[in-house]
């Protein structure tokens, strides 16, 4: 989230799309209710289903799954053609004025630089024109035909309300009301918040969905202000923290990067990422990348990291191929993976195309599951009839099921979707023989290192180089680990004038104190400050809110720098004055930036210096045009899902997202609309959390079995009665579920065709207390978003038929 759960109460308009907060995040949704009740805020919901959030909305518009970019681009076009934008914000706080290279083009759905065979772009034409002074060229009048603003007008003009209706199936008047309401906030007096979740990310154009939403918020001036923002609700309890820590294929904690083969030296790695400003006087905060990187290396390799050995850079693994989950299972399916550790993870349920997943798991030599509960994955070798029909005897995988403590039996910190790091204290002892993840992994690591010490082996040096100087190497304490994440001074740290600002041995108070000469450590710069010289701020529990704006600055610690609203300098105009009394937040008081939050800015830079509010960007402003930073285009474009009931009505020659990866270019894996005419989408129910709560008695009683939601029209067409068992199949597999025939779904008219959508809650499997079912991902395609590789779970094709038998 750019803002926070409690900040939602400051909004005037809530737009929920690509999520269903009332159902999936009920206790956070209460802040929407608060804004409605206390401020008279309006709520609008755009979703394929009239869902629980829609049920309490002031306006609901239906949409066909997978057509979000057409809809959102329609709103962008509406704002531009009706001149309903926040002019000063757009001119000064976005890159609308930047001039793009002459050779950039967009034709028939493709941007310049496309390579069809590689399914990827050469992005060099997507750059700015650079001036002789080394800075990017701008036209502050926004009139130059090659400036971002003019290119945008042209690019989005095709997304008229009529086109939105044709592509998305949303009746024109319902679409227009959404656009008008959004436009009502483009003035600095009113704020709109956008709330989304996996309904936007789980598409082959997922990242561009969110980007288009961000563009709308920038055109309206809704980023950096109370009650504004683009707010990801997020899934798992600590998915924010674990993303920050970066247990991902090519990440280093705090959004730094693992080296690649093309960066043989530390210098080469840093040079590529230390971005110089593209305008004079800009902060371009990534200029500090080397300080964060070296501090990480000092923390990771400890005393072994020295200036002479480039702080141990050579010991780090270098990335040749990035392994996202889809690729991991593709490689495993090819028999190239020996072992896998699953920590609180149930891939047989959660990875696309379960048939391939079970075949891949069967090729492992060993599988280790670390989980408080049994998962379907750890029993993948067991035959459960039609729900997991495997030949047990032929599966040669060795399987370990290790008992892990539950959430209540351990302590440590979680980072919620508001980026707030909060401590939890242990409430009970470990259940039976269960052990903490930390202790299991430490035990394993220490054992493996001992084997290398005694027997030697390949890659011994990098393994022995890892710093493991915990008080008890077999049981590192959460307190020690959080201190390590925060970082400390290894020698006295001085400022530019030579004054000592941090003594050797002291914890760092902020990442501004980090140095690139080896005098500081700290595994994750963005968390620095959470455990500074004054102690563990994740444990702070002061719930005072003096400003009344839901800031709660002394509750836990929000990264970065305890900031509750990101980009908050943008809550004031270029002169430093609040855009309006109603939206007053951070402002210039003549001496410094002040207000209820921590400024997202150097507090003493005066407005006259014209330093932009988006300090992480080399431009100092936000990007309506992303240059080469996204794989599939500097602007969004509407591409159909890989499985779609219609040809792309705007760019008929293009199937799917042209820059999305298709393994071996294997289009056969996708079903065609001539065979599969019904759109399916998956989602959660309020009574269940993913695949855990089928093991939880109360939740299994509340929602005991797999269901499929469908419209009355479709049920009639297929001869399906309420409560009847239904077979649902795609080009990859099949599942069975009980029919819920409902008015919540209606057929839509798309490009002259009637399109039906069915809804599939994802929670059911063959382990636990709920009735046995096949994994819902038996149906889904193994294709991901072009940027994030998040699988396309939210729009694919199926067919359905009733299964004869008693109706219950």
């Amino acid at each position: 989230m750019t803002n926070s759960w409690t900040d939602i109460k400051n909004t005037d308009l809530v737009w929920i799309m690509g999520g269903n907060a009332a159902e999936a995040h009920p206790c956070g949704f209460k802040w929407v209710t608060e804004a409605k009740a206390e401020r008279g805020a309006k709520l609008m919901v755009v979703d394929p289903r009239f869902n629980r959030s829609a049920a309490v909305a002031d306006h609901y518009a239906p949409i066909r799954p997978g057509s979000d970019i057409a809809f959102l681009s329609g709103v962008v076009n509406y704002l531009l053609t009706n001149d309903k934008i926040h002019h000063e914000y757009v001119r000064h706080y976005t890159n609308a004025a930047y001039i793009v290279r002459d050779d950039f083009e967009f034709n028939e759905g493709l941007f310049s630089g496309y390579d069809e065979e590689k399914r990827s772009y050469d992005r060099s034409t997507w750059e700015y024109v650079m001036g002789p002074d080394g800075f990017a060229v701008r036209d502050m009048t926004l009139k130059d035909p090659r400036c971002v603003f003019q290119l945008m007008k042209k690019h989005f003009e095709i997304y008229t309300p009529e086109m939105v209706e044709r592509v998305s199936g949303t009746p024109k008047d319902k679409f227009l009301k959404v656009a008008e309401w959004a436009a009502s906030t483009a003035n600095g007096e009113r704020a709109m918040t956008i709330m989304y979740a996996l309904g936007w990310t789980q598409h082959s154009s997922g990242a561009q969905n969110i980007r288009t939403a961000a563009m709308i918020q920038l055109l309206c001036g809704n980023i950096g202000i109370p009650g504004g923002g683009v707010n990801a609700l997020r899934g798992h309890s600590n998915v924010q923290g674990i993303t920050d820590v970066g247990t991902l294929t090519a990440a280093i904690p705090g959004y730094l990067a693992l080296p690649t083969d093309k960066e043989p030296t530390l210098e080469a790695h840093l040079a590529k990422r230390t971005f110089k400003p593209l305008q004079p006087n800009q902060t371009s905060y990534w200029q500090n990348y080397p300080k964060f990187y070296v501090s990480f290396l000092k923390s990771y390799f400890g005393a072994k990291a020295t200036k002479e050995n480039n702080f141990g850079y050579d010991w780090l693994p270098k990335v040749d191929v990035a392994y996202d989950a889809l690729r991991m299972f593709d490689v495993m399916h090819q028999g190239k993976t020996t072992g896998m550790l699953c920590q609180g993870f149930n891939p047989l349920m959660s990875i696309a195309y379960s048939g391939k997943t079970v075949a891949a798991l069967s090729k492992l030599k060993f599988l280790v599951s670390m989980d408080p509960i049994e998962t379907d994955t750890v029993r993948f070798w067991e035959n459960h009839g039609e729900f997991n029909d495997v030949d047990t005897a032929s599966i040669q995988t060795e399987v370990f099921m290790l008992p892990v403590t539950s959430f209540a039996e351990e302590e440590g910190s979680f980072t919620n979707s508001s980026r707030c790091i909060q401590w939890k204290w242990p409430a009970a002892d470990p259940y039976f023989e269960s052990r903490k993840d930390i202790d299991i992994l430490s035990d394993l690591f220490v054992r493996i290192r001992k084997l290398y010490e005694t027997e030697g082996g390949t890659g011994k040096d990098p393994l022995m180089a890892i710093d493991w100087s915990y008080e008890n190497p077999l049981e590192p304490q959460p307190d020690e680990l959080l201190r390590e994440l925060n970082g400390k001074a290894l020698a006295d740290v001085t400022d530019a004038e030579g004054n000592v600002i941090r003594r050797a041995g002291e914890q760092l108070a902020g990442f501004g104190e980090m140095r690139d000469d080896g005098s500081t450590d700290g595994s994750m710069w963005i968390y620095t400050g959470v455990y500074g010289p004054k102690g563990n701020f994740a444990q702070r529990r002061d719930n005072d809110d003096p400003s009344g704006l839901g800031v709660f600055g002394n509750w836990g610690f929000s990264w970065p720098a305890n900031r509750r609203i990101q980009y908050n300098r943008a809550s004031a105009d270029p002169q430093g004055k609040p855009w309006s009394e109603a939206k007053k937040y951070m402002y210039w008081d003549g001496q410094r930036w002040t207000g209820p939050d921590v400024p997202d800015y150097v507090a003493t830079i005066p407005p006259e210096q014209a330093t932009g509010p988006f300090i992480m960007n080399a431009e100092g402003v936000s990007r309506l045009w992303v240059r080469g930073l996204m794989a599939d285009g500097p602007f969004p474009a509407h591409y159909e899902p890989f499985e779609s009931p219609v040809k792309n009505p705007i760019f008929p020659a293009i199937r799917g997202n042209p820059a999305a990866r298709v393994f071996n270019n294997d289009m056969e894996i996708f079903g065609d609309s001539s065979e599969f005419s019904i759109v399916a989408t998956t989602y959660r129910l309020t009574e269940h959390f993913h695949f855990w709560t089928k093991n939880v008695h109360t939740n299994a009683v509340l929602q005991p079995e797999a269901i499929v939601e469908m419209s009355e029209q479709l049920a009639k067409e297929k001869g399906i009665a309420m409560g009847q068992l239904v077979r649902i199949w795609s080009n990859r597999g099949e599942v069975k579920a009980k029919a819920v025939v409902t008015k919540r779904l209606v057929p839509l008219q798309v490009d002259g065709k009637t399109v039906h959508t069915i809804g599939l809650p994802l929670h059911f499997g063959f382990i636990g207390e709920t009735k046995k079912a096949s994994p819902i991902n038996s149906l889904t395609p193994p294709v991901g978003d072009a940027n994030s590789q998040t699988p396309e779970f939210k729009a694919f094709l199926v067919d359905i038929e009733p299964v004869s038998g008693p109706v219950a």
Partner: protein
């Protein structure tokens, strides 16, 4: 800080207040003592309380978790009751149907109690010791790492990667666990590392 004033202490104070004033004020005299003796102690007064966090979604609702001596395992504390943390500014004491039932997760029938092991080709899990499991996993990993670890690429650049081992890291573990998980998996040279952020 709020946590210093534990809810248990507060409730103790409150219940003494009730016995000492309300009943007394009605003048029941000796009846009062008999009645007070017949009332079972309020269950929360005998429990230990900890502030925790819901394990499910990223609202991270604050929880108050109460525990008492375990009935199943002598000498251990077990969870007896969970409710929303009234002090948490986000959830303000509320929990949804998942958080409210979280005690059933802790006591799930499919909770794993002991390390279990399935031999290749067999149809069952057998109980093993921690030592057996850890020793065997360490050996399997070492064998494969020795066989497949790549120290340098074709150009002689050190790359130190182990391409044949995968780690799926959970997104419901603490930040501290996540960091340690990072250190172990990356430290061994793995690139096949993924968490639930992407799916």
């Amino acid at each position: 800080m709020n946590m210093d004033l534990s809810r248990r202490a507060f409730l103790k104070g409150a219940s003494v207040g009730v016995a000492g004033t309300t009943l007394g004020a009605f003048g029941f005299g000796g009846v009062e003592a008999a009645y007070a003796a017949s009332v079972k102690p309020f269950r929360l007064t005998t429990t230990k309380e900890a502030r925790s966090s819901c394990p499910y979604c990223a609202v991270c609702c604050g929880m108050m978790i109460f525990s008492a001596e375990s009935k199943a395992e002598a000498g251990k504390m077990e969870v007896t009751h969970i409710e929303g943390d009234v002090d948490n500014p986000v959830n303000r004491g509320t929990l949804c149907p998942k958080g409210a039932a979280a005690i059933d997760y802790i006591k799930s029938k499919t909770r794993v109690k002991y390390p279990m092991y399935r031999k290749p080709g067999t149809n069952t899990f057998e109980r093993v010791t921690w030592d057996f499991a850890m020793e065997r996993i360490a050996k399997l990993m070492k064998e494969d790492r020795d066989a497949n670890f790549i120290e340098t690429n074709n150009d002689g650049v050190p790359v130190n990667r182990w391409p044949t081992m995968a780690f799926l890291s959970g997104s419901s573990v603490t930040n501290e666990t996540g960091w340690l998980t990072y250190k172990v998996s990356r430290g061994l040279g793995m690139l096949q590392i993924e968490n639930q952020a992407r799916i």
